[in-house]
Symmetry: C2
Subunit: 347 residues, 2 copies
């Protein structure tokens, strides 16, 4: 972050016609946006563009979810038809919706709003060995970077990460364990709603993934494997693409609003690859998935919305967009005590 | 709330292409909107209209705030000039802004966007006796009802409560104590930022107000004084007007998004007068003021945003508006599993 822009933003906040600190977390958001952009006031982060990265997972075969794998493909169809919650929320906040196939198991027909950057027809089973080759992970990262670049070139001034991939909370849990050293039992959650028996199996699958791929560690131990190899070992193609999307946004100094646990896991990978990228990330919300809070804590990000959502698709990130805009807008539009002729409080 | 509309809304939520419950609190918001409106899906709560009720307080003379009383008048000028945070947030969410003088100490010149419904030039000191006469409280309630009616007649489909009144967190604390029976020490907070000495004085002033006006009670005791007289005794003119605004919105079946502690205190009065009014209230946010959480708990309302804000003006209510719209929009626009051809999870 640019220290001069941070200092200028903080000082400007304190001149505005409101008690100091009265906007709480939104004041920090505005200051972070200024630091990331290198200018105060920071650019208004609008319009927003949502990219939903879709991919399938070999670990689905282990019975970690009650949802059939073909739901990934079906939901891609739903996004393209405008019928998903992400579409409704995008309409609410004025965001565009782009769906990116980085690894759906089936082949997709071309359609408006769909980018096909398929790296593979799903990953391999992360509990038996690496989910991706190094080359696949790099290709998915590059696909995400390219989407960020293209959306910004088309006018987006804020990027929102979205995901679709049945079984992807399992890969997310494995990534979060690998990048934070926390235990699978505290990181792994019920995703879109699994029963106790499935949850127990899911935790065991995450443990196997970490063991098989040489990723076991404690929270105070250094990661045994470099970040890119870790991402390849237990990530999904959409995780790698979202990590690239974050890096692409950061390189262009455009804020990236992270959605839920999938984005949190992907951001851990992005930040392990390029630590400064975190300055450009905004945590849209905190989902009901326990690993998400752990990922955000590790990233040092404070979520803006906490409504117990656990849908993915970018829905939590979209809802945060008006809040991020409001934080920036204050810096442009609100009068100072001097300019408005308002008396400041007595010291 | 209409039980048929509630049941229909709940059933519709469960048919939509998302895991059941995956939208967390927003599913409850949508169901409440349906119940309040008596129809599912509920009407989209847009556009929104913010009404900022401004008034002064006799208790200011007790030194409960470091802000001079004339800041109420100056901030009204700032709202009318478009320079306050509430203006920036209203622009962000597409809400109109109306300022209502129900009791500013000074006389205001006519201006676009200003409604003068002045009941008195500020209240009397609530720590020495009743802040308002019964007639003044009724007049302010009626002013709030009229504003709700007029804004809805002009097309508003969601009302957002705002307030401006230096020292009004003191009156809010007294109202919350009176309506909940909780102790002044846990209810009273630092408002826009008072030091320890002033906070101690503020708590003592609230205690005096309750004693002088015969409002002392425990949490398990019935209120010793009827709701209207309680409101008159320790409320502000803006509290009475906001209570009327809530009643007016409820009567017209238009949702009212409550802002912070001032709105919370006013809603306690409104709901004491007409219990069903709570069905039409949405808690926009939870402010940093401790009494606000107590008021919301008493009302049974779950705040949508918790960002440590403590500004008032309607700022927290405005930020919640896109979330309330998103909750309703899902009910109109999202496909069902059947219509989208998406496979539901295995039971």
């Amino acid at each position: 972050a640019d220290p001069a822009a941070v200092a200028e933003a903080r000082a400007h906040q304190d001149r505005l016609t409101k008690p100091q600190g009265a906007l709480g977390v939104l004041e920090d958001v505005a200051v972070r946006l200024a630091g990331a952009a290198g200018v105060s006031p920071p650019p208004l982060p609008a319009p927003a563009a949502l990219a939903i990265f879709a991919a399938d997972h070999g670990v689905h075969a282990r019975g970690v979810t009650p949802w059939p794998q073909e739901v990934t493909l079906q939901m891609v169809g739903n996004f393209l038809a405008g019928g998903a919650v992400a579409n409704a929320f995008a309409a609410q906040v004025g965001a565009s919706v782009t769906v990116v196939d980085v690894g759906v198991a089936a082949d997709l027909d071309p359609a408006p709003g769909l980018i096909v950057s398929k790296v593979a027809h799903g990953t391999a089973d992360l509990s038996r060995g690496p989910a991706m080759t190094r080359e696949q992970a790099v290709a998915a990262l590059e696909a995400g970077i390219a989407v960020a670049r293209d959306l910004v070139a088309q006018g987006a001034r804020c990027l929102v990460s979205g995901d679709m991939g049945i079984a992807n909370t399992t890969a997310s849990a494995a990534l979060i364990c690998a990048f934070t050293g926390r235990d699978a039992a505290v990181v792994t959650g019920r995703g879109t709603g699994v029963d106790d028996e499935t949850l127990t199996r899911k935790v065991e699958v995450v443990r196997e993934a970490l063991r098989v791929n040489g990723l076991e560690r404690g929270p105070d131990e250094a990661p045994p494997v470099p970040a890119l190899e870790t991402l390849a070992a237990v990530g999904g193609l959409e995780h790698a693409a979202i990590a690239g999307f974050v890096l692409g946004g950061a390189a262009l100094r455009v804020p990236v609003i992270l959605d839920g646990v999938i984005a949190g896991a992907a951001a851990l990978a992005a930040v392990a690859l390029a630590p400064d990228a975190v300055d450009h990330c905004v945590a849209g919300h905190r989902s009901a998935e326990p690993g998400h809070a752990i990922a955000l804590e590790h990233l040092g990000l404070r979520p803006l919305i906490e409504l117990g959502m656990r849908l993915g698709e970018g829905t939590g990130g979209l809802l945060a967009h008006p809040l991020v805009c409001a934080a920036a807008r204050v810096m442009h539009e609100v009068a100072t005590f001097d300019s408005a002729g308002v008396t400041d409080k007595t010291a």
